[in-house]
Amino acid sequence: MFKVLFFGQLADMLDCRNLSMPASSAANVYDLLDILRERDPKWSKALNTEQLMMAVNHTLVTPEHPIVDGDEVAIFPPVTGG
């Protein structure tokens, strides 16, 4: 299993802050995004943007980054701190 977290406006749009998925369901973040977009039109729309950032185990990654059992994957809109 791995965890998926959502933050900011994206979490509001999905009305979801976290979920768990079987480790075998996605080999990398790119796959994961494809699978999530297929859930329903709301998810498809919210995730169909190039304005997403992603982290695996608290480190920013590119979509090619692999996902393995036990990972914490986070998907979020551009950050706006400071």
Binding site: L5, F7, G8, Q9, D12, Q51, A55, H58, T59, L60, E72, A74, F76, P77, P78, V79, T80, G81, G82
Partner: protein, 138 residues
């Protein structure tokens, strides 16, 4: 020295400044930046703000930025404090302080840290304006 804090409570600029200069006779330059909630953003009047963050990743990201700054610039102490949760008009949001032997290095590192923090650290601002609530886009 690297000091990182992510907190709901306000921070004391004076104490943070003290920790940068205490027992530090090597550094002639101290540059600090404080970011505050300002009245107008993108043309709309701000009443208050909610700052969401990614617990666990946030402190790690700030630590990494501080360490990278210490490698990249000739600086010594770095202090970064960022607030989260509900903030009101004029509240302090972020403190970044850098010490160095020379002012150019301290300025450059402080500016770099703020640029990186704004593009890489997992914080998201939701503003309450006179026209309702909106997430600030990156």
């Amino acid at each position: 020295m690297v000091h990182i804090a992510v907190q709901t409570a306000d921070f004391d600029v004076h104490l943070l400044y003290q920790s940068l200069v205490e027992a530090n006779s090597a550094d002639g330059a101290v540059v600090t930046f404080v970011g505050r909630v300002r009245e107008f953003n993108q043309g709309q009047q701000i009443a208050d703000m909610f700052l969401e963050h990614y617990p666990g990743m946030t402190e790690k990201a700030l630590h990494e930025l501080a360490q990278q700054a210490q490698k990249q610039f000739t600086i010594n102490r770095v202090s970064i404090v960022h607030r989260v949760g509900h903030l009101r008009l004029s509240d302090q949001i972020v403190f970044v302080g850098v010490t160095s032997a020379h002012r150019q290095d301290a300025f450059a590192a402080c500016m770099w840290l703020m640029d990186e923090l704004k593009s890489r650290a997992p914080f998201w601002k939701k503003e309450s304006t006179t026209q309702g609530t909106r997430w600030v886009s990156g």
